[in-house]
Amino acid sequence: MSEKVKRKFDITKYTGLLSSLIAIVGGLLVAFFVLMITNPSKGPIAFWTLITGGFGMGGIKNLGSLFYFATPILCTGIAMCVAFQAGIFNIGGPGQYSVGALAAILTALYVSKDLPGPLAWIVPLIVSTLAGAAWALIPGILKAFFNVNVVIGTIMFNYIEMYYMMHWINNYCYDAMKGQTRAVPGSTKLPQWFMPSITSNKAADIGIIIAIIFAVLAWVLMEKTELGYELKACGKNAEASRYAGIKSKRNIMISILLSGALCGLGGGLTHLSVSGTYITMKEALAAEGFNGIAVACLANNSPLGAIFGALFLAFLTVGGNYMQIFGFQREIVSVITSVIIYFAAFSLLLKTYIEKLLNRQKKEINKVTGEELK
């Protein structure tokens, strides 16, 4: 009996995907609405540019930018997937990401630039990963051993990072002429391999490949290993996990450190990129950190889904960069992203609603194939 069910395509299994799609469509509709009320005459063309990711105007070259924007939010996105699945609401992404970025820049400038071959960029990447993890360490300890709410702990560390960072930049890597961090030496930038040729973009590098590899690794970890089984069990039912003898403190630490490390890696990859990214001296939290939450929501907390979530949001970002041509602010993309986050947050609600709708439709189908289930 169950065999038969397995073979049949059961759409109710894909409600997670459907709710993500609805979140996306909802976000885009709001974007269209905003564009139309700001400037009705340019609205449609701007919207078209947005949803074609600017590929209509920039052509294949945009692929390079797409990957560039996708890399950091993919890393923070997987970071959030891992944490959320383990039941840890890490919203310290911005802090962990920026600390990783700064660690990569400083290591590149002072330590690794003369190291032989690939070590010049691998070492700063490793340091950025460790730095991201380190930034998650204290909120993790607070949660595991003193039961301090993770949200509060991690937010606090976002702000500590924001102010402390300025001090570090000012003293060690400030380029006063440009008002931003100094450029990292060429030897420490990520290699490019075949990326420029497949994207016809001279500045494309392997950042996205590394990020995708980590997404796959994170998926394997969560779905195929003993540790993943434990982390998810803790996230779904902490008491039952304790009953099963799973060490919850240890798992809280592991998941938040992993999450921080992935955020840090994102900062590293972005700031060692060939096209060059710099930290400016402004009092703001890194948006890449928060966008990871949107990516995770779109992906239903699956690291593999995060690849698509990140590419999609990056796609909109690339399109958003053309908005100025039509007299719009590029911040319109932030509006859409936020709307998508809201919609995605409602995805649970959407899920149950879709399930109901589908059930109603199934009734019709069942009338025809009524006997089959017996």
Binding site: M1, K224, T225, E226, A240, R242, A244, K247, K367, L373
Partner: protein, 511 residues
């Protein structure tokens, strides 16, 4: 009985879930003012049928008429408007609200923009007096007993002027005394013109309180009988499809060496400073079943949590097979002592994991289930799950890939029991192992417990059901207010005598 009007008419109700037909073409009439019991094996579709009536599921086929009118009950709100109320097996109360707040929540009386709590309170007090539902309206839910929480749920329905009352296994969580009280309450409600639909696995209860009983088997309606004209034996046979032996068959015990040795165990509640477990000492030998009897709330639950490491203990020692386990981790204890927990949703299952993952909850880290470098062996997960599903007859829509959440209550319980018994540990701690199981499954689980004993395991059974304790145990210890009142031999004492110990009236002389 004849010529009474029907208040509910189910016609050809069919409700399917992936892989299973939970209700298969069910037609049933419920008469106004009757107490109608639903009986059936675990997974027979009782809860599903009631959920359909309460608007939580929409059936694929069939119609429902209420008071002669065909209605579409699309959600619980519609059901409430039709005068239908439901007490779920797992209560839906807000823990840190008072009884009164919980009752009026969602249908408050307002005076202008403000809540008019006085009017609400008056109505609640009136209702509770009228139906003998004694309860303190200002007590917090988290501080009252399960029985009182249930009264709160009943008042919630009555407050919304429900005429048709659905109870899903209301007695599974109650002590025998509370059950007696509930039976009286139900009879009173029926006398006042309410219609009651009532699910239970306890056949005597059904015979005692209900007018008619409908038996379901694997989604199909088998028969509706007058409760007065039937016997528990007949009901048992009709639901399971074979004759059921209500009495546990077992030979004499052959106790061997001590497996579990508890000395001077004391646990103090950190808030009230009360000694909830007070200087408790006992031993369980290999090859015997020791039962802990007592009225709920006398420290038995805490004692078990202390033993299994889920709660810290303040004084005393725990030894297993001679080794000191007082300070060992839960994982270490799990390797020598398995535990069927009292609260299956809180501890026993990860509801959003599939059945196969849940069956491996105590094994996933052992060789065979996981490779040396930490990769799970899903082939082993699957074969192990299939083995337990077959052996323990765990029924669900899609077998091992079914989410635990979507399984029927009794089958969830069977999954836990299967996993824990199969651990093969020297000590088996079974707390209310048959709660929510049908008579056939109970018979099977009791057999398994005896078999474990005969295989030289030490079994510690905790149950609020005196019949179970008397039937299964080789020795009984009775707890009252955190202390052991005496050690009894079930062959030597009567149920009444055990009751006196449980009530704290009688106490064994200290040696």
């Amino acid at each position: 009985m004849e010529n009474t009007e029907n208040i509910i008419e189910f016609r050809h109700i069919t409700k399917r879930f992936p892989g299973i037909i939970a209700c298969n073409d069910i037609s049933l009439d419920i008469r106004k003012g009757e107490i109608h019991a639903l009986l059936g094996e675990n997974g027979a579709g009782k809860s599903t049928l009631m959920s359909v009536l309460f608007g939580m599921y929409t059936p694929e086929e069939g119609t429902i008429s209420i008071r002669g009118q065909e209605v579409k009950i699309t959600n619980p709100r519609v059901a409430t408007e039709l005068g239908i109320g439901m007490v779920h097996q797992h209560f839906k109360l807000v823990q840190n609200y008072t009884v009164l707040q919980n009752i009026v929540l969602g249908s408050e009386t307002v005076k202008g923009p403000f809540l008019d709590m006085d009017v609400c309170r008056k109505k609640v007090v009136e209702l509770s007096q009228k139906y003998g539902l004694a309860i303190d309206p200002d007590a917090l839910i988290e501080n009252i007993t399960v029985g009182q929480q249930q009264r709160c749920e009943i008042l919630k329905m009555l407050y919304r002027e429900a005429e048709i009352l659905i109870f899903d296994e209301p007695t599974a969580v109650l002590t025998p005394q509370e059950i007696d009280e509930l039976m009286e309450i139900m009879k009173g409600l029926a006398k006042e013109g309410h219609t009651i639909l009532f699910i239970s696995h306890k056949l005597e209860e059904i015979k005692r309180v209900s007018d008619r009983v409908t038996i379901l088997r694997r989604g199909k309606l088998i028969q509706t009988l007058n409760a007065a004209d039937t016997t528990t034996t007949q009901m048992g046979e009709l639901m399971v499809g074979r004759s059921v032996n209500f009495h546990v068959e077992k030979g004499p015990a052959h106790p061997g060496e001590v497996a579990l040795d508890v000395q001077h165990l004391t646990m103090i509640n950190s808030e009230t400073k009360k000694r909830v477990v007070n200087d408790v000492s006992f031993q369980v030998r290999k090859g015997e079943i020791l039962a802990i009897a007592g009225i709920d709330g006398n420290g038995q639950s805490e004692l078990i949590y202390g033993l299994t490491g889920l709660m810290p203990i303040d004084e005393g020692t725990i030894r297993i097979n001679g080794e000191d386990y007082t300070r060992k981790s839960i994982r270490d204890r799990n390797l020598v002592m398995s535990h069927i927990p009292e609260d299956r949703h809180k501890f026993g299952l990860v509801l959003d994991y599939p059945l196969s993952y849940n069956l491996a909850l105590k094994n996933y880290f052992k060789p065979g289930f996981v490779s040396k470098i930490g990769f799970l062996n899903f082939g082993k997960f699957d074969s192990y799950a299939d083995e337990l599903i077959n052996k323990f007859d765990i029924r669900s829509g899609q077998g091992k890939i079914t989410m635990a959440r979507s399984m029927s209550g009794g089958n969830q319980q069977k999954a836990i029991v299967a996993r824990e018994i199969d651990q093969g540990c020297d000590v088996l701690v079974a707390v209310q192992p048959t709660r929510g199981l049908d008579v056939g499954a109970i018979e099977f689980i009791h057999k398994q417990l005896v078999e474990q004993r005969d295989n030289g395991k030490a079994v510690l059974l905790m149950s609020f059901e005196l019949d179970e304790v008397m039937d299964v145990a080789d020795r009984i210890i009775v707890m009252f207010e955190g202390e052991i009142m005496g050690t009894l031999d079930p062959k030597q004492v009567t149920v009444e005598e055990v009751g006196l110990y449980m009530a704290g009236v009688k106490r064994e002389e200290k040696k």
